[in-house]
């Protein structure tokens, strides 16, 4: 399982990368592995407000549906529309297939660094 050293991680298995006031959000390798084949994604639209700790969309695998939880509060600047037709990119390249970019970030969930996130994943097995 891959964990990228310079990203931050939410306990709900989203990764976040903050750069120049923009927070890019995706799901982790652990999350995609637990979901199995992702076959559908519901995305917000640019301009929507997202709230830290609350759902901003969902991903569905063959087996089940799972909420996407935002690690930050802010306004959606962009969504990765490629995922609508190719949600399986979340399986094949979880850290490349970003889901949303958030601007005007006002709040953050308690985020873990790579080491702590690795420990969490080990605990959840």
């Amino acid at each position: 399982m891959t964990i990228i050293p310079d990203l931050k991680y939410a306990k709900s298995h989203e990764w976040v990368k903050e750069e120049g006031g923009i927070a890019t959000v995706g799901i982790t390798d652990f999350a995609q592995d637990a979901l199995g084949d992702v076959v559908f994604i519901n995305l917000p639209e640019a301009g929507d407000e997202v709230v830290a700790g609350e759902s901003f969309g969902d991903v569905e695998s063959v087996k089940a549906v799972s909420d996407l939880v935002s690690p930050v509060s802010g306004i959606v600047k962009a969504v990765n529309e490629e995922l609508i037709d190719a949600p399986e990119m979340l399986n094949s390249d979880p850290y490349g297939a970003w889901i949303i970019k958030v601007e005007q970030v006002t709040d953050r969930e308690e985020l873990l660094d790579a080491d702590d996130y690795e420990a969490l994943c080990a605990e959840e097995g």
């Binding site: 076959v39 559908f40 063959v62 549906v65």
Partner: protein
């Protein structure tokens, strides 16, 4: 919590990297590292192998075995000849299902009845007070034997290679044979739960488990888990006990003739006599015929309020078990099984059909809805608070011409 049961192939599943889950008290592979989508598609194009050793295998032996089976099953077991199998349902007096099963006659002097894993104990308890009245016995051989479903266009060739024969059974569904494969005795049935026009279920002694599993993989078959088994059977509209038969979401018994295939599973032949549930089933059958002939009345709705039908989502989304279905604004039932199911795009039809490299996926499944809803009806499904458009097609696949299952895409 009681310990989960394991099949003889448990270590083989772990070695293949399977994700194991609790399935009705059994620790079974839900998927292997390639994933459900790849396993589904490989079965449709080549050959998937499924460990189905968890299912109950019961031998019915003794002079009155046929008389007993005629009483407790819906099918006409007297019509079953040596080396043939038939689908059947274990009915209750109300015309509901205790379980569904497959009856095999591999040998003159006994029948093999294969039942659902999670229902095996219930079925045995159901049979116990009945079988006492007949000069025959039920012997549970589940623990001594294994079973593997070998399914897909290449399955016949793979098994033929192992047996050193041209054809492993007569070339049609429900044929059986007992073969020697590289010195191992294998009971072969041309049956399955994937909708594949070419597919087999094989039975072996426990000690042959690792040998057969490895040989099948060496010859090009790939393991597939319960996840793909579920998507394959949904696409082919094959019912699962607990979803499409048994007790519905509202606690009512689901009528056997709610299933389209009840027509083939239930026989009212005179020689079956007054079998369990016969009277109720006769009424249901008449109502099903009326609805199929588009002349169903209010009285038919009383006998057969709902039927099991295919459903295909037209809007973007995914349907799941339990979601409500609406027709002309009125709630008419619910989704019993559904997810996003992959398929190969195809070219040509029938025996000329070819699978292309390109794949698609579609949100389809099975619904239990009011019996008078016509084919091609536009319905709505409540997908987590949103009403999405769906349709009731005639079928999801065409699978009557080997070697391929051809997807029928709802318009």
């Amino acid at each position: 919590m009681s310990e989960l049961k394991r099949t003889q192939l448990y270590n083989a599943h772990l070695a293949a990297g399977a994700t194991m889950v609790d399935f009705g008290g059994w620790e079974m592979p839900i998927q292997y590292p390639s994933g459900i989508v790849a396993e589904h598609l490989y079965t449709r194009k080549c050959c998937g192998i499924f460990d189905v050793s968890h299912m109950g295998r019961l031998l019915i032996e003794g002079p009155e075995r046929l008389k007993f089976l005629q009483h407790v099953l819906t099918s006409n077991a007297a019509a079953l000849t040596l080396n043939k199998a038939q689908y059947c349902i274990i009915p209750n007096e109300n015309g509901g299902a205790v379980d569904d099963a497959y009856l095999y006659q591999f040998e003159e002097d006994r029948y093999l009845l294969v039942v659902n894993a999670s229902n095996t104990d219930k079925d045995l308890a159901w049979f116990e007070p009945i079988v006492k009245n007949y000069d025959c016995k039920i012997r549970n051989i589940s623990g001594e034997t294994i079973s593997i479903a070998v399914q897909g266009p290449e399955s016949g060739k793979i098994l033929a290679k192992l047996a050193g024969v041209e054809e492993v059974t007569e070339p049609a569904r429900n044929n059986l044979s007992i073969l020697d494969m590289e010195g191992h005795k294998v009971w072969v049935a041309r049956t399955g739960y994937t909708g594949e026009p070419i597919g087999y279920e094989i039975f072996l002694k426990n000690e042959d488990a690792d040998w057969i599993w490895n040989r099948l993989m060496e010859l090009g078959a790939k393991p597939a888990g319960l996840g793909a088994r579920d998507t394959l059977r949904m696409e082919a509209m094959l019912p699962l006990y607990g979803d499409e038969m048994g007790i519905d979401e509202e606690g009512n018994e689901m009528p056997i003739f709610g299933l389209a295939l009840a027509r083939f599973a239930v026989s009212f032949d005179e020689c079956k006599g007054d079998f369990i549930g016969r009277k109720a089933l006769e009424k249901q059958a008449a109502a099903q015929t009326a609805f199929r002939e588009k002349r169903g009345t209010e009285a038919d709705l009383v006998e057969l309020p709902k039927r099991v039908r295919p459903i295909a989502l037209k809007d973007r989304g995914v349907m799941r078990h339990g979601m409500e279905v609406f027709y002309q604004g009125e709630k008419v039932g619910y989704v019993t099984s559904a997810t996003m199911i992959p398929y190969y795009k195809t070219e040509g039809e029938g025996a000329e059909a070819k699978l292309l490299e390109e794949t698609g996926k579609r949100a389809i499944g099975i619904a239990f809805i009011r019996s008078d809803i016509p084919t091609n009806a536009e319905v709505e499904v409540d997908v987590r608070g949103k009403r999405l458009k769906a349709v009731i097609p005639l079928k999801h696949v065409a699978n009557n011409v080997p070697p391929y299952v051809i997807p029928v895409i709802a318009q």
